[in-house]
Symmetry: C2
Subunit: 301 residues, 2 copies
């Protein structure tokens, strides 16, 4: 499979990695990058992720009008500044996809802006990332063995879904299809909640007047548990607000589980602790041996 | 510094790693291992961690009577099966230390059993570990750059503290002294709570009837956040029960922070989310650059 012209809107970690992966796979001929900062575009050019770069506040519309594939890889909260422009110029054979971490809000924004061109839009979410950001962090291997979830609309054409599926497969990913609401519920539980739990712990410790003494005794468990707390605050604020309902449901479920934990500890209920910890340990081990194809691929853990 | 005879009671990850580290540093002449399972002792022998092994239910007392240093590296809940035997045979120049994750309960058990020999006891806690266990997981580099906290009693002799300090320093660790209660409070916050939060998340997800679909979409953030949930249920049950009061205090503080998070999301308060996420991100980055000497030493993150 080969895309002649790929336009990447947002050449950060996700966009640059995708461009680098497509290039490495020989799945693309030319790549145009569109972004907020000239410095980052220059970095993407220097790394060979893109062939030319345009600023988001310049006239980039004609560059995407004849693209075969447009990947939107900017924060979801900024889509409404981009989608109407795309709707105005988009050629009939151009397919649009995105990499946003939430999908119901993206579908809503697409419905309100793309209208007649909705058939050309394939909402997507590559389940891959890093606490690093920018084109500098781009990695051609970021998607190898990872899952990309596509949440096509009833209006989305089968050809568009096939193109985006083939493209991500060429980048090394496994593609799965899911309903947008189901996607948001699942990601709230396995991604958004853990991120916010880790950030909550670090922020709570950092707000103590003797935080240096606490953090000075933290070891490798803390290191791994909190790695995701180093991620972009702006991005995670937007995700938390965009996936509000699913997140509140997940936080409530987690609070119930946390209350049960506190009760077990308070009453010295070793059997209840055993049951919970054994279930967690077995599920985690089984996950890292199976679904964690990710795991083996990335760092062997 | 050189210890002629080291006795390691419990030749699991922690005990075997310590023996291997001391050997690699030339800080020990002979090592006797005492453990629950012959298979694990054989493994420790084969790996060169120990020179000979004795089962805990055999007559191991005379082997430790003339040791220079005894390291207790079994679960804290099992100390009371070992300390009275030690108290009965211990020579005057033998120093005892331990590697238990909690210290107030260890101090209490030592006070009740070692009595006249309390001066020879240096309670300790190496802040290092892994989700793996057993002599097989032993690693001579486990303690390099890590912190070992010693919590000596008023009765502990300065010579005993100096010996244990020199020993751990030879193994590559940085030694810090702390009050046992303060140790337990700090470790509850930076180690025990994160472990239990991770296990609670995995157990909650695993208990859902559609857990496979949730876990199948989990990525690298989930992987790192939950790595510690794969740890030994038995060990973490004992820690949770042993450090009950400090843990309940920390869980309560965390719940308050979690409630504030839920409230921010519910009311769409982006500014409050920004403040919390920025504080977390900055603190985490600063931690990994400084206190995380650990971090750079182990895997560069």
């Amino acid at each position: 499979m080969r895309v002649d012209k790929l336009a990447v809107i947002g050449v950060g970690l996700i966009g640059a990695s995708c461009a680098l992966a497509a290039r490495a796979a020989g799945a693309v001929t030319q790549v145009v990058g569109i972004g907020r900062s000239q410095a980052n575009l220059d970095r993407a050019l220097a790394r060979g992720a893109i062939d030319r770069g345009l600023l988001l506040d310049a006239d980039w519309a004609r560059e995407v009008a004849d693209a075969d594939l447009v990947l939107i890889a900017i924060p979801v909260a900024q889509y409404r500044g981009v989608l109407p422009t795309l709707a105005g110029v988009l050629g009939d054979r151009t397919v649009i996809t995105d990499a946003g971490s939430t999908k119901q809000d993206v579908v809503l924004a697409a419905r309100e802006t793309l209208r007649a061109k909705l058939a050309q839009f394939v909402p997507g979410h590559p389940i891959a990332g890093s606490e690093r950001s920018g084109a500098e962090a781009g990695d051609a291997a970021l998607y190898v063995g990872r899952q990309v979830i596509l949440t096509p609309l009833p209006e989305t054409s089968a050809e568009a879904v096939a193109l985006v599926t083939d493209f991500w497969t060429a980048c090394g990913a496994r593609v799965a299809l899911l309903d947008p609401g189901r996607h948001d519920r699942i990601l709230a539980a396995v991604s958004h909640l853990p991120h916010l739990l880790a950030s909550t712990l670090v922020a709570e410790l950092a707000s103590r007047k003797d935080s240096a003494e606490y953090l000075g005794s933290a070891g490798s468990g803390f290191r791994d548990f909190t790695r995701i707390a180093g991620s972009s605050p702006e991005m995670w604020r937007d995700i938390a607000l965009a996936n509000r309902d699913a997140l509140l449901t997940e936080i409530a479920a987690y609070r119930t589980a946390l209350d049960a934990l506190a009760s077990s500890i308070e009453h010295g209920d070793g059997a209840a602790l055993d049951t919970m910890l054994t279930r967690a340990s077995e599920a985690r081990r089984s996950w890292s041996e199976t679904a964690g194809g990710i795991v083996a691929t990335r760092d062997g853990r």
